[in-house]
Amino acid sequence: MTDTSHGTGGLTFDKTKRSWPNELNILFALIVIIAIFEILGQVLPYMNDQSFLFDTKDRFDSIFNEARLKIIILQVAIIGIIALGVTQVIITAGIDLSSGPLVAATAMIAMSFGQTELVNGFANPKALFGTWAMDLPVLIPVIVGLTFGAFIGAINGTFIAYMRIPPFIATLGMFLICRGIALWWSGGNPISFPTESFKWIGSGMMPVVWFLSLAAIFHLIMRYTVYGKHTYAIGSNEEAARMSGINVNRHKVTVYVIASMLAAFAGVILAAKSETAQAGMGEFYELFAIAMAVIGGISLQGGRGSIIGTVLGAMVLGVIRSGFTYVKLDGSYQLMAMGSIIIAAILFDQYRQRNRA
C-alpha cells in the first residue's frame, strides 16, 4: 500500500548481522598478553627456556602448565566473585566502593560463628564467643555472613534509590562503616581456628568452583531473566525504565543487595581459605573488582557489559599478576602494568563507542 516512496527495508532477524561482541576483543587481549609473556619467557636470558603456559617438563600427559593455570584463576577467584556483583551495580550506572571492607567485616562476623572449640586438645585461644558459638554447623556462619551482606546492601540500595544519595558517596560512607565494623567486632583481634567444614568452603580450588559456578548462574540471570533485562534497562535509560512500569527503586535495592551478598560470600570464602579473619582483610578488593569489570568492558555510564566480560577481565588481571611473577619482575611493576591496562581498556572502549556512532 504505502511501501513505495521510502524503501522496502522490511524486517529481518538475521543472527549473522548481530554486532561483534566486545567479549571477543577482551579474549583477544587476553591471548595477546599471554603471548607476550610466553615470548618474554623465551627471549629473556635468565629464564632457562621455561614456558609460561605450556607444560615443558612433561611430567604429566598434559599440554598446559596446569599448576600455573590453577594459580592464575585461584588468585582472582575471590575478588572475581565481588566483581560479579559490582558488574551488576555498574550496569545500573551505579558503583559499589564498600565491597572490600564488607569482605573484612563479613569474614570477621562469619568466622566468629565458625570457630572450633578445641585446637590440639586445648581451648581455642582466639575464641570470640563462649562455647555456644563453637563447632556450629557450617551453614550457620554462612547464613549469618550472607544476611549481614544483604543488610549492608539493603542500606546501600535504600540510600541510593529512595534517598537519592549518589552511589559513590553512599558506598564510600559504607566503605568506612564496614571497615569500622570489622575492627569493632573483635576489638581488632584476629579470629582464627575454624571448624573443618568451614575450612572446606575455601580449601584448594573451592574458591574457583564458587567463582565459576556463580559466574555461570549470573550470566544466565543477566541474559535470560526479567531481573537482568531490567538491570540493563535502568542503566540504559532510567527514566524510560520508570515510564515502562519498572519499579526502578525496588530493583536498584535488589541489585545492591545481590552485590553485597556476593561480596559477603567472598568474605566467607576468604576467611575459610585463610583459616583466620582479620580486620585489615580485603584491602583494595573493591578497586580490583571494579578494575575487572572495567577491563571486561562494563561501561561506567551503565547499560553495557556482561558477566562473561567481567570473568575475562578477571582473567586478564590474573594473567598479569602471574606473568610478572613468571618473568621475575616484582610487585611494583605489576601495579604499574595493571594501572596502564585499566586506562587502556577505557581508551579502547571510548574509541569503540565513537566508531559506532
Binding site: 521510502h6 532477524f13 531473566t225 531481573y227 540493563y232 534497562a233 542503566g235 524510560a240 515502562s244 556512532a357
Partner: protein
C-alpha cells in the same frame, strides 16, 4: 455516552501563579483522530500531561472510556489503556527493538521464579515482527540496539510500541518535530494505519500540513485555554483560519468568554 473515549471537564493546571491550563472542556469519540495545535506555551503539552497522569491536575475531571479516572502516574494511565509517545523518547538505548517494545511487560516463562522468571525471547520477537508489519514500520534489523538507529527509526520504535499494544487511546506529542522528510512520511503512514484500524489518537503538532492531512478535528489552545474546535472533515477550514485562531486574531464565538 459510551462512544466517547475521553472527556475532560474544567481541566485546569496551575504552576504556582502560572495558569498553564484553564478550564479545558474536551471530548473525543472512539476512533477519532484529534489534533491539538497552539503556540509554544499555549498549554498543549500541559493538557497531555494531565491526561496521562505525568502531572496531577489542579482542578477538573477526566473521564476515560466512560469512567472517571485519577491516574497517579503514567504507568496507571498506560495500564488503563492510554499509550503516550513523548517528545523525550522513553527508549533504552542499549537494548534492541523487542526489548524496548516489551520493556516492563515482558512475555515470560516460569513465572514462579519471581524476578528471575525467564524471558520468552522467541514470542517477543514474533510479536514484535507482527506489530511492526501491522504498523508498516521498517527497521533494517530489529536486533540493532536503539543507539545505532536514526532519529526516525527511534521514533518509529516508540510509536510502534504504543501501537502494538491494543491501547484505547494513543497520544503523540510532536512525533515528527525532529525528523527528516522521509522519516516524517513514515511516521505519518503509521498514523494512517492507526486510523484504518479505528484507533483513537490525540496528535500534538505544529505542522499544519500534517494536521490537515491526518486529523478529523483540530483543537486550538491559546494561553492555556481552548479557543477553537474545528471539524475539518465537515467544515471548510483553511490553514490561514487555524493560524488566526492560534495567534489570537480569531476566536470561535462559543469560546469567546473563556478565551478572551
Amino acid at each position: 455516552m459510551t462512544d466517547l473515549v475521553l472527556q475532560t471537564t474544567d481541566l485546569t493546571k496551575h504552576y504556582g501563579g502560572v495558569h498553564a491550563l484553564e478550564g479545558a472542556n474536551f471530548e473525543m469519540k472512539k476512533g477519532e483522530h484529534v489534533a491539538i495545535m497552539g503556540d509554544n506555551g499555549a498549554g498543549k503539552s500541559t493538557f497531555v500531561r494531565q491526561i496521562t497522569g505525568v502531572e496531577q491536575r489542579t482542578r477538573g475531571t477526566v473521564k476515560f472510556d466512560g469512567q472517571e479516572v485519577n491516574f497517579s502516574g503514567p504507568l496507571e494511565a498506560r495500564e488503563a489503556g492510554i499509550e503516550a509517545v513523548f517528545q523525550t523518547l522513553a527508549l533504552a538505548d542499549h537494548l534492541d527493538v523487542p526489548d524496548n517494545l516489551f520493556l516492563g511487560r515482558e512475555i515470560t516463562k516460569f513465572n514462579w521464579l519471581g524476578p528471575f522468571r525467564l524471558l520468552d525471547y522467541k514470542a517477543m520477537r514474533e510479536q514484535t515482527i507482527d506489530g511492526l508489519n501491522k504498523t508498516g514500520v521498517k527497521i533494517p534489523n530489529i536486533h540493532n540496539t536503539i543507539e545505532r538507529m536514526s532519529g526516525g527509526q527511534r521514533q518509529c520504535v516508540a510509536i510502534a510500541r504504543a501501537a502494538t499494544f491494543k491501547s484505547k487511546l494513543t497520544i503523540m506529542d510532536e512525533p515528527t518535530a525532529a525528523l527528516g522528510v522521509q522519516e516524517t512520511a513514515q511516521v505519518e503512514n503509521i498514523i494512517r494505519t492507526l486510523k484504518t484500524d479505528g484507533d483513537s489518537l490525540i496528535l500534538v503538532s505544529h505542522n499544519m500540513r500534517q494536521v490537515m492531512d491526518l486529523a478529523d478535528r483540530i483543537i486550538v489552545f491559546r494561553r492555556g485555554r481552548i479557543c477553537a474546535d474545528l471539524d475539518i472533515k465537515k467544515e471548510d477550514v483553511s490553514g490561514e483560519d487555524v493560524v488566526s485562531y492560534i495567534t489570537g486574531a480569531k476566536t470561535q464565538p462559543e469560546f469567546e468568554d473563556s478565551a478572551a
